[in-house]
């Protein structure tokens, strides 16, 4: 279990020391490391080893400990599937950029850190890797070294550290009031010890929730994510649409369901306080996406909105809500990474960054835009693709909770679906049906991307269809891990 965390860390750190004669050798090395690690993770998931593994202890019950449970397994499995594919894609993409070495170093290290979060057994371990993730992804945002990138990296860092500080407060309280620091389904708070302090604990929960959800870019902490879009596409796609932001969502799930426990929280003012910004973000993110004309930033806003779907599932504080949230976390990763990679391919091939510049590209880059269309449909929630399944589960959970605020949330989901249709289909329509007379169609230099780029996309599309048409097994798995 330890290996899957350590291997990418070391492989990444070793990289500058190894003498690679050609670029190809380096790429082969990287892909091998990542693939082996993914295989190991999948093997782990297959056997689901019981028991915990303590790396070291600080004092008393503070230790860095790993354990694989259902939720972690889903998260780890997702990362394990996505990483090698994203790696393949970035080999092609990064050809145009400088400093490939340092890029790949951090890209691989991040893999290990993400695994650390997935496998964390207690809140301290999670917090440790959570901080680390902010730090190792910082150089990736900084990558291009432009003024813009530096500013973005700075705001990224401030937001992350601020969030972590709030999360730290929550952690301390859990250590004090909890029976143990481990994650236990249903929460670890010592009910007897709380007594009259429940209001304070609720406040702490709200702080802690906000702290972790900075990483999911919940409003009002959302502005770092679109800014971070200056990073190369593989970073924005894998990290800022999937790994980093999902870590935030994953962490909120952990604290809500496994540390504080829903028993304490459900129906309290704290639940309402956190639900309101979540619902607001769902609509807010989409509206900003509609307004945004920069392709990557548009998708970044879309991510903000979609991550709040996940948080919405979390704050419903019912097992069904958690299932919906996990499902959306899983499915959204595939949808969003697919659309990001498509946009990245467009940027790579044509260096066009804005929506109005892509008129007629659909006919020049059919593979890429077909994949993009599928991911657009999935994000909109067309039945038959995976987006519908998770939305269905979220909405079902919300209806079942019978909270008026949750009904508002469903309405927000629907409004957001419409806005999603607007900002995604806008791109699709432009690409395939340019207004007559625009010159972009004749741009012969625009070519479809090569196999390294479209193979990962094809895999994502297949996955979206598979989960959309045959969601039974995966939903069962998710339900099984919670009950």
């Amino acid at each position: 279990m330890l290996i899957v965390v350590i291997l990418p860390l070391f492989a990444g750190i070793l990289m500058p020391m190894l003498p690679f004669r050609t670029r190809k050798a380096m790429l082969v090395y990287l892909e091998t490391v990542v693939s082996i690690n993914s295989l190991l993770v999948l093997l782990l998931l297959l056997y689901m080893p019981e028991g915990t593994l303590t790396l070291f202890r600080f004092t008393g019950n503070l230790s860095v400990t790993f354990r694989l449970d259902g939720m972690g397994a889903v998260f780890a499995g997702m990362a394990a599937v996505l990483w090698p594919l994203a790696m393949l894609y970035s080999f092609e993409y990064m050809k145009h950029e400088d400093n490939e070495g340092s890029f790949f170093l951090f890209y691989v290290v991040t893999y290990g850190v993400t695994m650390g979060i997935a496998l964390a057994e207690n809140i301290l371990t999670m917090y440790f890797f959570f901080e680390m993730l902010s730090l190792v992804t910082l150089p990736l945002v900084l990558h291009t070294r432009t003024r813009e990138a530096i500013l973005a990296a700075r705001s990224y860092l401030y937001y992350m550290l601020g969030g972590a500080a709030f999360a730290f407060i929550g952690m301390v309280f859990i250590l004090v009031y909890g029976t143990t620091s481990s994650f236990v389904a249903g929460g670890v708070l010592n009910m007897a010890g709380i007594g009259e302090k429940s209001d304070m604990l609720l406040l702490i929960y709200v702080l802690c929730f906000c702290g972790f959800s900075v990483k999911t870019a919940m409003w009002p902490f959302s502005s770092w994510l679109p800014k971070a879009g200056v990073a190369p596409t593989p970073v924005t796609a894998l990290l800022h649409a999937v790994a980093v932001v999902n870590t935030g969502a994953f962490a909120t799930m952990r604290v809500t369901y496994f540390s504080f426990g829903t028993e304490l929280l459900r129906g309290t003012w704290a639940q309402k306080v956190v639900m309101v910004p979540v619902i607001f973000t769902i609509v807010y993110g989409c509206s900003r996406a509609v307004k945004e004309t920069h392709l990557k930033r548009r998708l970044a806003w879309s991510t903000i909105s979609n991550l709040s779907y996940i948080l919405f599932g979390v704050v419903l504080m019912t097992p069904l809500g958690l299932v919906g949230a996990m499902a959306h976390m899983l499915f959204h990763s595939f949808m969003k990474i697919c659309s990001f990679f498509c946009v990245g391919a467009v940027i790579y091939q044509t260096s066009k960054h804005y929506v109005q510049e892509i008129d007629g590209f659909g006919w020049r880059m059919p593979k890429i835009f077909c994949c993009f269309t599928v991911s657009a449909f999935a994000l909109m929630g067309v039945p038959g693709l995976c987006g519908f399944v998770s939305k269905w589960n979220l909405a079902k959970a919300a209806v079942d909770s019978e909270m008026p605020l949750a009904y508002v949330g469903i309405a927000a989901l629907m409004v957001s679906a419409l806005l999603t249709a607007i900002y995604m289909m806008d791109i699709v329509i432009r690409a395939f049906c340019p207004v007559k007379g625009s010159d972009a169609v004749d741009d012969k230099n625009v070519k479809d991307a090569n196999w390294k780029m479209w193979v990962p996309l094809a895999v994502f599309v297949a996955v979206m269809f598979y989960f959309g048409l045959h969601s039974g097994p995966v939903m069962e798995l998710l339900e099984g891990m919670i009950y």
Partner: protein, 499 residues
Amino acid sequence: MQGLLLISIGLPAVAGILLLVLAFSEHLRAVGGTGVKHMRLYLFVSVMLVASVLLATTAAWTGDNSVVLFRLIESIPVYFRVDEVGRFFITIVSVIWLAVGLYSVPYMKHEGGEKRYYGFFLLSYGVLTGFVYAGNLITMYLFYELITLVSMPLVLHNGTREAVTAARKYLFYSLCGAYGGLFGIFFLYRYCGSLDFMMGGTLDAAAVRGHEGILLMVVFVMLMGFGVKAGMLPFHAWLPAAHSVAPSPASAMLSAVIVKAGVIAIVRVVFYVIGTDFLRGTWVQYLWMTLALLTVFMGSMLAYRERGFKKRLAYSTVSQVSYILYGLSLLTSEAMAGALFHVAAHGLIKCGLFLTAGVFLYRFGYTRVEELEGLGKEMPKVMWCYTLFALGLVGIPPTCGFISKWYLAQGSLHSEIPVFSWLGPVVLLVSALLTAGYLLPITIKGFFPGEEKSRENRKVHSGEEVCQGKEIASSMLIPLLVLAVLVLVLGIFPITLFK
């Protein structure tokens, strides 16, 4: 017989996709079609269309078929079942599709992009078949959304700025409506025994108790949502825009059939899932009736003021479809029969009207009403067909429009709802008057243009090679004649449909 049902949905869809792939690859290689290829294309499309129609209708008339395709989510199967409404609707769809298919041959040759057009033409037939045979709400929703997605390219076919804008408007309005519907489905899943369609509804009374208020709200949202596609106020703005820029045969399909998808969806929700008892006498019913009547009146009024011919017809659709919605909102079986009959009547008539509009557009490039003066002399057959359709839409016997309006008015008078029972027929009559006012002058001016206009020289716009001296190619005339005959036959022998 289960396989038949699936094939009837799958065949046109697959054929359509095949054509689209061909069109796509051709576009990439940038080669144009030649004459021989045209023949092959027509042969393929006609064989596929006829085969699908045969399959769909046999599936409809060979007893109660049902088949579960697979499970989308554990508790939600994609489930098809043939029932009365489906059987009825697929018949209309098939007739209209055949007529439009024949008509499209010369028309789309002139318009271009034929492979793409026929691709979506076949695809939408398959999707519609799936839609009408859907056995539960989720399956219906799936196909409902697909209808929007596959019919949108028909709207933006000619690729002008206007068309693209209209297509977007269409897409976003329709999706907005679909999401309204989905919002409701989430709740119905909770409060209904099952989402399968069953006459009389499946509402679980025990679960509903105490939640009536929220459920009524939800039903209202669903009505508004599905009403978007039927062009009900206040969400009608997309309809005139979209239906007037599409190529004429496509407008005919959109106006005659696709808008009815919204109607069918409402029928399913109200009569087959929720049940009329729950809604009768609630504020939802009254609001629904008010909106429907308002739309009937406003649609006619807007059509009366409109000078663009196709746009006028589109506004007329707004008004006429709300006749149907009004009939449904009365929640009685008599009015529902009238409403469903109007689905057929309006479908045939509006299809015919758009096809005649297409004839004028195709031959002379005329788009505005005043340009049509004096055309009766040159195109007597087409003008006579037009007149018959116009009379049908006004509701003058012996056309089928009369029958449906008769039943709608009867149903309204018998419903014993205060005010509305008499207000409804009055509004319908006023609207009929307006309909006469915006359709019939075209006939009058067409045959009696007055002195100076009749001598005017007309410039032929296109289609000279296929017409060869006749007023119009026979492949365009035949569909018009067939539709006209059907309008009369249904008016004289309405009993055939009332089963």
